[in-house]
Amino acid sequence: MGRYSQLPRLVPSSRELISRNKMVELKFGRHTVEAFEGDTIASALYGAGFRIFSRGFKYHRARGLLCVSGNCPNCLMKVDGIPNVRACLTRIEQGMKVEHQNAWPTLNRDLFSLIDRLDWALPIGFYYKTMHRPRALWSISSALIRRVAGLGRLDSIASESLPIEYHRFQQTNVAVVGGGPAGLSAALAAANSGVDVTLVDEQSTLGGHLRFENRMRTLGGEESRNVISALSAKVEAHERVQVILDATVIGRYEDNLLGISTPGGLIHLRAQSIIAATGSLEVPLTFERNDLAGVMLGTGIQRLINLYRLKPGQTALVATTNDQGYYTALDLLEAGVRVAAIADTRPEFRSDFDAAVTLKGNGVLVLPGHAIVRAEGTRTVIGGVVAAIEADMPTTKERQFDCDLIAMSGGFQPANYILRQSDVGIGFDSEFDEPVPISSSTAIRPAGDVTGFHNPHVATLQGRLAGLSVAKTLGMQVPVDTISQVEVELRNAETTYRDKVQVRPAPIDSEAGVKQFVCFCEDVTLKDVVQGVGEGFADIQTLKRYSTTTMGPCQGKMCHKRFVEIVSDQTGMSPDEVGSTTARPPIQPVTLGTLAGPGHMAWRRTPIHNRHLIAGAKIIETGGWQRPHSYGDPHDEAKAVRERVGIIDVSTLGKLDVRGLDAGQLLDFVYTHRFSDLRPGRVRYGLMTGDNGTIMDDGTVARLTDDRYYITTSTANVETVEQWFKWWMADRQICAHVTNITAGYCAINVAGPDARATLAKLTDVELEPKKFRYMQVKSGQVGGIPAMLLRIGFVGESGWEIHVPSEYGEEIWNALLTAGEEFGITPFGVEAQRILRLEKMHIIPSQDTDILTTPFDISADWAVKFDKGDFVGSGGLRIAKERGVRDILVGFKMRGSAVPNDGDAVVSESGLPIGRITSARLSPTMGTGFGYARVPVEVGVEGGVIHIRVNGINHLADVTLRPFYDPDGVRLRE
């Protein structure tokens, strides 16, 4: 519990990202930390003196900042309830709550770090080796491992209040990934040639590595930092360029689709062409205790110095395999850090290497042919030891230096992930000691450091060439001269660079210690990898799985290069032969919330929805709609329908208007029934099957005129049925028009003994039984509104389904309620409807049927008209008919008081499952449990008895094949 303010920062610089006059406070655990606006969580904590940021995955060793670029696991923290946030990329906001992960009780004193002493008990592949026996222990040990290992925990309560992340779908001509010198040049060249460009960068400002480093002080005679800011300004102002910052490309998918994770959500960006100016990543060296807090990548240190003006330490030791270490050392000197020595694996370096000359001039000790062999300290660095290299191995000629900072550079690994997710070929360039693109594609082109050339001049030219070439491919007029001029310039620049490049991979000495970490995410050491190869896992893909190297949050960004080097060293294969692991998306960690986006289900509401809300209905979501489940007690509602009159909003029914010369022919073909002989003004039940004879949907078909039918489908199926009709129309060349008018009409069913009297008060249509028969359709006025009335069974009472244009829905609903008031009219919901329809044995497709159910299995033989000739399903139905019914849907009524649940088992006398309950309810009319069961045909006979298992106890039920309520259908005809 303390208050931390910032230690003094370095003198202001034009490149810094902080605003020194604006202070922001964040909470770090129980501490309050004050920092500058523009600081990231990492720079704020570092500036306040914190050095330990996390604990290792397996051994719980203290870890500090490593890359400061969002590419390692070391700064993962929980921020405002979200675990695994990269602190070095996340800018602070007032009141932000930051907590450490994976340590207990505190980061500084993590008791789990005792595991570090037990490394002998955790050999490579210990998951595979130690967890087999005794089996019973597995559940205990796995729970323990999960508690101790791993990353942050999801706070399920906090995650409920997280902002919704939207998904956006965008298209562009050219997507440029990376806003460094190459990306900026490419974007500008392409946009100037007339194509639209979307530029994406992970950082908050453009410029790439030139934002923070001085690898080249001048570009074309000017200060390179000025060149880059001028270029950035031009790109940002260009009308053809859209710049998306703080945005991480998580993968490249088929047909140039990029997934881009942004603070606002996920962008799906389709690009005709992609320019991969993704740069490269500096990678660590492998030496004893290379994971101590204070051992950092050189470029990470340079970011701290130049972007946040932090003085990273007092004394630094630099270890490098290439030029980069020297640039880091220059920045260290500029920041007032003493550079104890530079250990360079290369035996000598070019005499015209300016940086080295300058450093020597400043009295820095440069040690060519030396490698770092260990760091000293327990949690943070207190010193480092370097040794002279002979025959590619460190010798005992060691030198010790006291220091609180070790800057390392193990060379560069290209950030070529989106290239590897495309058809661009990658091969190993031994001069560069890096994998580079070796074949090209018009869909995606590399430019800049990702090609292995770490030179801003080359990058700028590569970018320009890529931009011009892409524009040309996309049909723009690009002067041939311009392109060839850039090509010549580029070739010269590339040759000059290649002539000077010098790299020497660091020696691999597994004897030098057991804490030489290769993979920081998964805590895999050099010894582990060497041992894995020794155990026979010489293939990089299997060794990866066995050792879990490259499998952590950074997905190999820090360790892949070294991993390949070690395997190559141990097996004698060349790096090209060793190959690489697969670069699967996501390239960078992405939260499930980002991927999921907001709820994708758009619930539909009926025109009467507000009335239901006012009436206090309990709303449920079903079949894509929000519907009233009930307004009170569903049993009371059901009783009201049976005894008086009820109304229900059935606007959710699918409604199709089918017309045209061949409309009857179409319906004859897609339904099992016949409809061409249906007289205008009549309604018929329709059952639809797939061509294999299994049930798809059911509904009513009303013939309005000779060439016009009005069809209802079940609520959830209207899209499917519409597509189905249209498909057969297209396939069979049937001339008809099918229009989905579901939303255009509101439908209300009024049913019960008093339905006629209620409706009669509102309509001019004659409702007398002789005038308006069961299964007839008529149009007329209801409450002064043009309506269509269908007299159908629905809930088994005499009743009408009233269809009116949606706009009038509420009005008719209210009119019916008023008209029925004297009879005690009751609105009823889906639950009462289900009970009522179940009592009448009306099936619900997909509830009482499954993908194998045929009409014969539900005793609907009468609905299948083989005599009408060929129709959809006729072949399958013929086979089903010949084969005979095996399982049949039957009604059941419980003998006792138990009420089964949907899905309960029907069991044989010996207790084996033989069938299942598809629908079950308590009947208010009968007072017992009842419903539908699917059982073997031998059992499913009238008068049969079945056993139903309810909550583990078997109960007896009687089988019936006739409706429970009004089996002869008298009431609905009254």
Binding site: D255, W727, Q733, D870, S874, G875
Partner: protein, 91 residues
């Protein structure tokens, strides 16, 4: 999946607007009541799934809501041509 699909009615639209309706091949040729059990079974359950050229049904769900025919390479996912089904029947 291919980036843009040329609907014969609406022009080129993103793949998300469409539903794929399966291949059109000798196996998808409709079989009816008078065909043998074997023929019917092949029609119900089998498809050519050709690696390469494939003639297919596509439906423009979020557009004109019409079925049309597309010629797609199932390996490269490039759609060579789209057309109304009439043409298919004529040829």
């Amino acid at each position: 999946m291919a980036l843009l699909i040329e609907c014969p009615n609406c022009g080129s639209r993103d793949v998300h607007e469409f539903r794929h309706g399966g291949e059109i091949s000798d196996l998808s040729e409709r079989k009816g009541i008078s065909d043998s059990d074997l023929e019917l079974t092949k029609y119900f359950y089998f498809a050519r799934n050709n690696a390469g050229d494939s003639k297919e049904w596509w439906y423009h769900s979020f557009g004109c809501r019409q079925w049309f025919v597309a010629y797609r390479n199932t390996v490269s996912d490039q759609i060579r041509e789209t057309e109304w089904p009439e043409k298919r029947l004529d040829s």
